[in-house]
């Protein structure tokens, strides 16, 4: 058997496309995706800080871009990613102690993660828009 056959014709075990997605699987990959997004989102944070440090002109530019409809959309996504990822971290914290892993409980914790992340995001923006 050639090495090409070894690679091409090996049987595969069922994978992501086959399994029905339980909520725990969804929050797991969401945790990684939001983490990756926040990784690049840090550019916005340090840009804002550096602009404030640089002077009024640079700060006005940063504020203008971040305050545009597109900037606000990105910041809204940033807020959701941060809240989802933070609650996901707390979820992992709970599981690190070996509790809440039972069938039913683990799903409820995962749902609290999803609903809480979205809920906190909306609350933060409502407060932000009311006071702004």
């Amino acid at each position: 058997m050639s090495s090409a056959d070894l690679k091409a014709n090996r049987p595969l075990s069922p994978h992501l496309q086959i399994y029905r997605w339980p909520i725990t699987m969804a929050v797991s990959i969401i945790q990684r995706i939001t983490g990756g997004a926040l990784y690049f989102g840090t550019i916005l944070l340090v840009w804002w800080l550096a602009a404030a440090a640089a002077g009024p002109g640079a700060f006005a530019l940063a504020n203008g871009v971040l305050g545009s409809w597109f900037g606000l959309l990105v910041l809204f996504g940033f807020t959701w990613a941060l809240m989802q990822h933070m609650l996901g971290g707390i979820r992992h914290f709970i599981w690190d102690f070996g509790v809440g892993m039972e069938k039913g409980t683990r799903d409820r914790i995962a749902w609290v993660n999803v609903i809480g992340g979205a809920g906190l995001t909306v609350i933060i923006w409502v407060i932000g828009l009311v006071f702004a």
Binding site: V46, L49, A50, A52
Partner: protein, 126 residues
């Protein structure tokens, strides 16, 4: 006869030589940021939509500088470990993986440098 426990004798002999180091740092920095984010939210509430002079005064205050600096340090440590895990999981090939890991470190350090420099400048009165 050795007084070491069986666990002590096999520690650090796994393929990666150690295991829970980054796991633990990820928990520490994550928990730290979960607390710091409250202070960060207060800083945002005191600066968003305000005139430039006021923003600079708030960001340059000692308590805000401390919160922001701690945040940036915890953030870059946390995100570097996280991205390293993603790279190790998905990037095949030793050369490309090494390149990605190096780029990850450079990016994290660049974010830290820009962030901390800005915070210091604001703390010293811009």
């Amino acid at each position: 006869m050795s007084m070491q426990t069986p666990l002590r004798r096999i520690l650090h002999f796994g393929a990666a030589h150690d295991g829970t180091g980054t796991f633990w740092i990820q928990r520490l920095t994550g928990a730290g940021m979960a607390i710091l984010v409250i202070g960060f939210a207060v800083i945002l509430a005191m600066t968003i939509g305000r005139p430039y002079e006021q923003v600079v005064a708030v960001l340059g205050s000692p308590i805000a500088s401390a919160i922001l600096a701690l945040m940036v340090v915890a953030m870059v440590v946390h995100m570097r470990i996280g991205m390293q895990e993603i790279i190790e999981d998905y990037i095949q090939g030793a050369g490309l993986r090494l390149l990605c890991l190096a780029a990850n470190t450079f990016f994290a350090f660049a974010i830290a440098a820009v962030g901390l420099l800005a915070i210091v400048k604001l703390a010293l009165g811009a």
